[in-house]
Assembly symmetry: C2
Homo-oligomer: 226 residues x 2
Amino acid sequence: MSEKLPVIAILGGTGDLGTGLARRWAQAGYEVIIGSRTQDKAEAAAADLKKVMDARGVAAVTVRAMDNLAAAQAADIVAMTVPFSHQTSTLESVRSALQGKILIDVTVPLVPPKVARVQLPPEGSAGQIAQALLGENVRVVSAFQNVAAHHLQEGQGLECDVLVCGDSKEARAEVIKLVEAGGMRGFHAGGIANAAAVEAMTSVLIFINKQYSCHAGIRVTGLESH
Amino acid sequence: MSEKLPVIAILGGTGDLGTGLARRWAQAGYEVIIGSRTQDKAEAAAADLKKVMDARGVAAVTVRAMDNLAAAQAADIVAMTVPFSHQTSTLESVRSALQGKILIDVTVPLVPPKVARVQLPPEGSAGQIAQALLGENVRVVSAFQNVAAHHLQEGQGLECDVLVCGDSKEARAEVIKLVEAGGMRGFHAGGIANAAAVEAMTSVLIFINKQYSCHAGIRVTGLESH
């Protein structure tokens, strides 16, 4: 008997990044719940996801659409991909439903219009904001901030590694499984304070994208050296 | 006629990272000045550098040893590789000699003993501290924080890219030349505020080194995609 896969909710699952993650996990056989502020938007995104999976020949995909709170309640693991300006309000609206669960925080603290400039919050990082707001009964794991949504939405392999930060090593390991299920390499990258490095790197990558006309990512090197 | 290469001073040039950079630039034909708090220490490091260059069959290397202030005065471009706790005092001692020049700040704001934990300063980054202290007549460029000294000291190619941050694009381009002379790829990574991302990444890499028993670095990927 194989282990039952966790059900994953993606809050803010109608955006580019949420859509990309949903496609990766649905394709890997996970049951995915698209969460949004309204049921209508979630349903449109879920319908789109089913269509893309059909086109890729992925059979028997279970996709559901719910509002964010219902999605968080129904899932085993909750990922959140909302703009930084909505991070706190979204977390407050689902806090009770997250207790005892892992929250994968994909928030990047970009401050428009200067999104290519690092402007970390006084708390240190969006990951730390989430952990402080949710309390220690929720294991916040920060991940996927450096992956181009463009690349995630495609079905192929990805050249960008995922640095996984969180105070619980076990929770990081769970998220690394999801990273690998999505076709990427995931690395233990330290406690939630280290999310600052990854979040800030997103602005650097946005700068590089503009400068060199590309969709840049990063890879960890030197793993073989001792 | 070829362009005359700039003379490079390395303040704190007796440490592991300074030694590594000195070897790379001396090997590429640059005149290098090893700076230290005392002439004696600088001379010992310069003698060692000459010995390593001899062993590698690199002829006609010009290496000088000076205290930090004299080194900064004599050089065209000044690199600084001192511990974070000495950054401000070292910069204050050479500020006058840096006016009109490029300072390559390699400072990483690690806070021992938890060096694998991101702990950025309230100013945002060590790079921003340097730029604020030195004033706009000094073009501060932040670079090399993610490269393992271990790898720099070896003569071979390096798998770690160098993200180059600074408010002057021309100064960044000068530093990218030095990165390339050292056998690495250098990238324009944004203004000096973006040094926060690179400095913070060093703690992530230290964490990865411990976790995976390696000397990790990062590479920029996705440069070909549009």
